[in-house]
C-alpha cells in the first residue's frame, strides 16, 4: 500500500514538473524551501468566524492578511463558517461539485474517510520528513486524527491543531457546603450525587437536547471501563452495540437519568443552558472538554472570577484504566488534491507550514490560551486551564468519540440519536437494538 502510494505521488510530481514550465521543484525536494510561485490562489476553509470580535478570529484574519502581504506569489482566499452544520453543508457541496477548498479543517476519523477513499487527500509525510523543523514542532501523540493505518492507509494525511480531554468540573463551594470530597472514582461520584440529591442540590444538568452530550458520556464511560481497546473492538464489531458490555454502559447512564442526577428535563435543555446552570451555581458537576476554561473565562462568570471552579480527571471505573481518557486531537487541517494543480498543492503545503506552526500557535496562545498539539509552553493566568493542562500531561492514553473509529460514517449520528432514548424511558436493551438496527440499514 505504502509503496504504491509513494510511487504514485512521485510519478505525479515528475509529470507535472515536466508539464508545467516554471515550477522550480525537483521531484525529491519536498521541503519547499524558498519556492517562488507565480500568482497561485488557494482557498482555505476553516470554522473560524468572519467577525473581528472574537480574539481567535481576529488573529486568524490578521495572520492571513500578513501571509498575503508576503512576496511569495501565493494568495489565500478564506472560507470562514463557524457553525458546524453549515460548515459541513458547504464542504460536502464543494467536494460534490468539484470545487473543493485546497485546505480544509475537519475532525478526522470516519469523518474524513470518504475523502481518503476517493484519494483526494494529500499524504503529507514526505513533506513533513523533508522539513524536520516543522515535523518536530508537533507533539508526538497528536497525530491520531491524521493517520488511518487502521483503515489500511499508510501516511500522514493532515496536520493537527487543537487537543482536548474530557474532565469533570465541579463547584468547590457547593461541594464544601455539603461536606463532599472531590470524587476520584465512579462510586464516589455516585455517592456524591446521591448525597447532593438528598440535600436538594442538583448534581449535574446535562443539555442532552444536543445529542453529543450523552455521546461523550458514553465514550468516556466505555474507555474508563474497558480501556482504549474498546474503540477498535466496537469499530470492528467484535464488541457489539447491543452486547453485554455496552448494555452495562447504557445502564449506567440510565441509572443516572432515573435518579435525576442529570437534571429533570434533559431533552429540552441544550448545551448553552447547561453551561449557564453550572455558571450560575445551580449544578455542582459538569463533564466538559479542556476548552471549557477559556469559555468560562470569556463568559464573565463570577464563579470563575472567584476561583470557585475546580477540575479533576474523569472518575475512574476500573483502576487499570484510571489514566485512559476521552481526548486527543480535535481538529486537523487536510489538503485536498481534487481538481487542484500541482502548484496549488505545493502552495497549500507552504501555507500549512505557516498556519500549523509553533510560531503561529504561540501567537494564538497569547490571545486565546488553550491546549494544542504543538511543542509549545502555554503560560496563562487562567488557573483552571493550568489545572487542566496538568491533568492532560499526566494522561497515558486517549481516544476520541468511539464512533470516529468506525468504518460507517453515520455511526456517530446513529449512536448519539439512539442514546437520547435513555432520557425517554427507553431501556438499555431497546437503545442497543436500535443502534444495531439502524447501522444495519446503512450497510
Amino acid at each position: 500500500m505504502k509503496l504504491k502510494k509513494a510511487t504514485g505521488l512521485t510519478l505525479a510530481a515528475l509529470m507535472t514538473v515536466s508539464l508545467i514550465p516554471g515550477t522550480a521543484l525537483a521531484a525529491e525536494d519536498y521541503s519547499l524551501k524558498d519556492v517562488q510561485f507565480d500568482n497561485v490562489t488557494i482557498r482555505v476553509a476553516t470554522r473560524n468566524g468572519g467577525g473581528a470580535e472574537s480574539a481567535v478570529d481576529a488573529y486568524y484574519l490578521s495572520k492571513v492578511e500578513e501571509f498575503n502581504a508576503m512576496d511569495n506569489g501565493i494568495t489565500v482566499e478564506m472560507i470562514n463558517i463557524s457553525t458546524e452544520a453549515d460548515y459541513l453543508d458547504r464542504l460536502s457541496t464543494d467536494f460534490a461539485s468539484g470545487d473543493a477548498p485546497n485546505i480544509f479543517l475537519e475532525y478526522g476519523g470516519s469523518r474524513v474517510l470518504d475523502y481518503l477513499e476517493a484519494d483526494y487527500l494529500l499524504d503529507l509525510q514526505p513533506y513533513l520528513e523533508a522539513d524536520p523543523d516543522w515535523y518536530g514542532g508537533f507533539k508526538e501523540n497528536g497525530w491520531s486524527t491524521c493517520k488511518f493505518e487502521d483503515y489500511g492507509y499508510e501516511g500522514i494525511y493532515g496536520v493537527p491543531s487543537e487537543t482536548y480531554q474530557i474532565m469533570l468540573f465541579y463547584n468547590k463551594s457547593l461541594l464544601e457546603e455539603n461536606g463532599i470530597e472531590v470524587p476520584a472514582t465512579w462510586d464516589e461520584l455516585m455517592d456524591a450525587c446521591a448525597k447532593l440529591k438528598e440535600a436538594g442540590v442538583q448534581p449535574f444538568v446535562v443539555g442532552e437536547k444536543d445529542a453529543f452530550r450523552f455521546g461523550h458520556l458514553h465514550t468516556v464511560l466505555s474507555l474508563k471501563k474497558y480501556g482504549a481497546d474498546v474503540a477498535q473492538k466496537l469499530a470492528s464489531r467484535e464488541m457489539s452495540y447491543d452486547g453485554e458490555e455496552m448494555l452495562s454502559i447504557y445502564g449506567m447512564i440510565k441509572t443516572m437519568v432515573d435518579n435525576g442526577y442529570l437534571g429533570d428535563n434533559l431533552l429540552s435543555t441544550d448545551k448553552g443552558q447547561e453551561d449557564t446552570y453550572f455558571e450560575e451555581g445551580k449544578a455542582v458537576f459538569k463533564y466538559d472538554g479542556s476548552w471549557y476554561p477559556a469559555q468560562i473565562e470569556e463568559s464573565g462568570s463570577e464563579l470563575f472570577a472567584n476561583q470557585e471552579v475546580g477540575v479533576v480527571r474523569f472518575p475512574s471505573i476500573e483502576a487499570k484504566y484510571e489514566k485512559t481518557d476521552m481526548g486527543g486531537t480535535t481538529d486537523a487541517y487536510y489538503i485536498s488534491t481534487l481538481n487542484a494543480t500541482e502548484e496549488q498543492v505545493q502552495a497549500s503545503v507552504v501555507f500549512l507550514k505557516y498556519l500549523a506552526s509553533v510560531d503561529y500557535i504561540e501567537g494564538l496562545i497569547a490571545v486565546n490560551p488553550n491546549t494544542y498539539a504543538y511543542n509549545v509552553d502555554v503560560k496563562t493566568d487562567n488557573y483552571l486551564l493550568n489545572d487542566v493542562m496538568a491533568i492532560m500531561n499526566d494522561t497515558e492514553d486517549v481516544r476520541s468519540d468511539l464512533q470516529g473509529y468506525d468504518t460507517q460514517s453515520m455511526a456517530m449520528n446513529t449512536v448519539r440519536t439512539a442514546l437520547q432514548g435513555l432520557a425517554m424511558d427507553k431501556t438499555p436493551e431497546e437503545v442497543g437494538s436500535e443502534i444495531v438496527d439502524s447501522l444495519a440499514e446503512y450497510e
Binding site: 470562514n80 463558517i81 463557524s82 468539484g98 448553552g272 449557564t276 472538554g289
Partner: protein, 275 residues
C-alpha cells in the same frame, strides 16, 4: 345595529389576543438583544437588568451590519422585480391562452413548488463553478427567482383567471396588443396579488441562507443570514449581539411590508372580477 356593535367588540378582542401572541417574539428579541448569554438562558421573558446597548455595536462589527443588510436588500429587490416581470408574463399566457402545451407547462411549474431545496444544491453549485458564477449576485438572483417563480405563477394565474374575460375582449377590440393588455389593463387589476407576492419574494430573498452559504465566500458579499453565522464561536454562540442583529435586519423588511401592503388595499376595484 346593536348586534353589529357586539360583533365588532368580539372581533377586536380576538384581533387583540392574536396580536399580543404575535408581537411577543419581537419583545423577546428586543429584550434578548440587550442581554448576555447567561441572562438569556436564565429567562427570555424578563426585562434586561443591565441594558447592554453595546451588543448593537458588537453586532455591527461582527456581522458588518450595514454591508450585509445592504447586500440582502439589493438581492431581494432584484429578485422581486425579476419574479414579478417574468412571472406575470408567464401567468398571462397560462391563464388566457388555450394552446395544447399550456397544461403540461403548468404541471412543470408545479414541480417548482414541490422540489426539496436540498436536492438542488449540488447540481446548482456545480453549475456555478462551471460558469465561474460563485460570489456573483446575478447568479444568486437567478436562483432565487427560479425558486419563487412557481409560487408566483400559481398566484398570478389564479388571480388572472378570476378576472372577467370580457375585459380582454373589450380591450382587444379597442386595439390593445398582448403587451399593452397585460401591462396597461391586467397588471393594475392584479396589483393586490403582485404586491402580496412581492412581500413573500422580498422576504425570501432577504433571508435566504443555503445558497448564499454554498456560493458566496467573500465577506464583503455576505447576506444577512450568512453574516448571522458569525456570532457562533467555536464552543458557544454570542446570543445577545445576534439578537441585536436580528432587530437591525428586521427594519428594512418592516418598511417593505408596510409599503407594499398599502398597494394591496389600494388595488380594490369593482366589477373586474367575475361574479
Amino acid at each position: 345595529m346593536k348586534q353589529r356593535k357586539r360583533w365588532n367588540i368580539l372581533w377586536y378582542f380576538l384581533a387583540l389576543v392574536w396580536g399580543l401572541m404575535t408581537i411577543l417574539p419581537l419583545m423577546i428579541t428586543v429584550f434578548s438583544s440587550l442581554k448576555n448569554n447567561n441572562e438569556i438562558n436564565m429567562g427570555v421573558f424578563s426585562m434586561p437588568e443591565h441594558w447592554r446597548i453595546e451588543n448593537y455595536a458588537k453586532a455591527n462589527e461582527t456581522a458588518n451590519a450595514f454591508g450585509s443588510i445592504g447586500n440582502s436588500i439589493l438581492l431581494a429587490l432584484l429578485t422581486t422585480v425579476l419574479v414579478t416581470v417574468v412571472g406575470m408574463l408567464a401567468a398571462y399566457i397560462l391563464a388566457r391562452k388555450k394552446l395544447f402545451f399550456i397544461k403540461p407547462v403548468y404541471l412543470l411549474f408545479m414541480v417548482g413548488v414541490m422540489v426539496p431545496v436540498h436536492c438542488t444544491i449540488v447540481p446548482i453549485s456545480g453549475m456555478a463553478s462551471a460558469l465561474h458564477a460563485k460570489d456573483s449576485f446575478w447568479f444568486l438572483v437567478l436562483i432565487y427567482s427560479a425558486f419563487n417563480l412557481a409560487q408566483a405563477v400559481y398566484l398570478y394565474t389564479g388571480f388572472i383567471q378570476s378576472i372577467d374575460r370580457e375585459l380582454d375582449e373589450a380591450a382587444i377590440i379597442d386595439g390593445c396588443t398582448d403587451v399593452t393588455l397585460l401591462s396597461k389593463i391586467l397588471s393594475p387589476i392584479c396589483k393586490p396579488i403582485i404586491a402580496t407576492e412581492a412581500i413573500f419574494v422580498f422576504i425570501y430573498g432577504y433571508s435566504e441562507l443555503i445558497f448564499s452559504l454554498t456560493l458566496l465566500s467573500k465577506p464583503e458579499k455576505f447576506t444577512v443570514s450568512r453574516a448571522m453565522l458569525n456570532f457562533t464561536g467555536e464552543h458557544s454562540t454570542d446570543m445577545g449581539p445576534q439578537f441585536a442583529f436580528i432587530v437591525m435586519a428586521m427594519i428594512p423588511t418592516l418598511f417593505i411590508y408596510l409599503i407594499f401592503h398599502e398597494r394591496v388595499e389600494s388595488g380594490i376595484l369593482s366589477g373586474a372580477v367575475k361574479g
